[in-house]
Amino acid sequence: MRARRLSYRAIARAFAEVLSDVPVVRRPAALRACARFLERRGLLHRAPAVLALLDEELLQRTGRQRASVVTAEELTPRAGEPIERFLRRLVGVPVSLRETVNAQVRAGFQADVGDLFVDASLLGQLQRLRASLRRAHPSNVAE
């Protein structure tokens, strides 16, 4: 059967099988082999979609949940660890962080995990303060 006829999800499952079989130290080499496979099959331009599916597959296999975290600056592993721990306690299962940097957040973080959204950012705090001031009754403000 030719790989071109395989669905992206099937390819992702195959990559997941490969990656779970190899030791951790050999995983970079295995990933490069996967990339070469995609290149040979002319599917390198579809690598993001395949990798997203691979990510889902690996999370499913490890029983983890994806948490999208937005921060003002890139998190160091040490800085990300407390966030990951907090989110794990929050949802009850291990989580894998997917970080995105957005300077508008100013400080703190915003996390999206499953159906939950946690806003512990300075941007959110300022937005809540602005909304609170807008909702404030004039009689409380006028005095």
Binding site: A79, F86, A107, S121, L122, A142
Partner: protein
């Protein structure tokens, strides 16, 4: 009397001339008749007519007086009635005018109060809107300033401290 009958008798004894006496009686009767016919009766008629005229005049005068008195009394009654009626109408008109005045005054007062209330309400509404708008603008301005200050002064260490504090706060909320 030379004309007395020379014979005896009663007339002769007293010198009476019977013919002369008869002539005188006839004359007297003729004169009496003529006077009665020509003087007394017309005079009596005239007097009677005058008396009747006077009596009629007196009766007419009395009737006129009575009529005048009645007319005067009627006029007085009419005047009294008219005066009473006029007074009554005047009082009624006054009462109606008072009622109308009171009603107009009350209506005007109510309208004035309603206008005053509306104006107060409107002024209060405008004031509230202005205060709300001002408060919102001030709030937005304060938040914008805070955002700009924090953006310019926030360091990596500050961000780390903020992150740690946010996590502590979240944990406290969960607990």
């Amino acid at each position: 009397m030379s004309s007395a009958a020379p014979g005896g008798g009663f007339a002769g004894r007293f010198g009476l001339d019977v013919f002369l006496l008869l002539a005188q009686v006839v004359n007297f009767l003729v004169v009496l008749f003529v006077l009665r016919r020509l003087v007394f009766l017309p005079l009596l008629k005239t007097l009677r007519h005058r008396r009747e005229t006077v009596e009629a005049g007196l009766r007419a005068a009395a009737a006129a007086a009575a009529e005048r008195a009645a007319a005067t009394a009627e006029r007085q009654r009419v005047l009294t009635d008219a005066s009473a009626d006029a007074s009554r109408q005047l009082r009624a008109a006054e009462e109606e005018a008072n009622l109308l005045r009171d009603r107009i005054f009350r209506t005007a007062q109510e309208e004035a109060e309603a206008m005053h209330d509306r104006a107060e309400h409107e002024a209060e509404s405008i004031k509230t809107q202005a205060v709300t708008a001002a408060a919102q603008e001030v709030g937005d301005l304060a938040v914008d300033i805070a955002e700009k200050v924090l953006a310019s002064q926030m360091t990596a260490a500050g961000r780390a401290r903020y992150r740690a504090a946010a996590l502590r706060s979240l944990k406290k909320e969960r607990a």
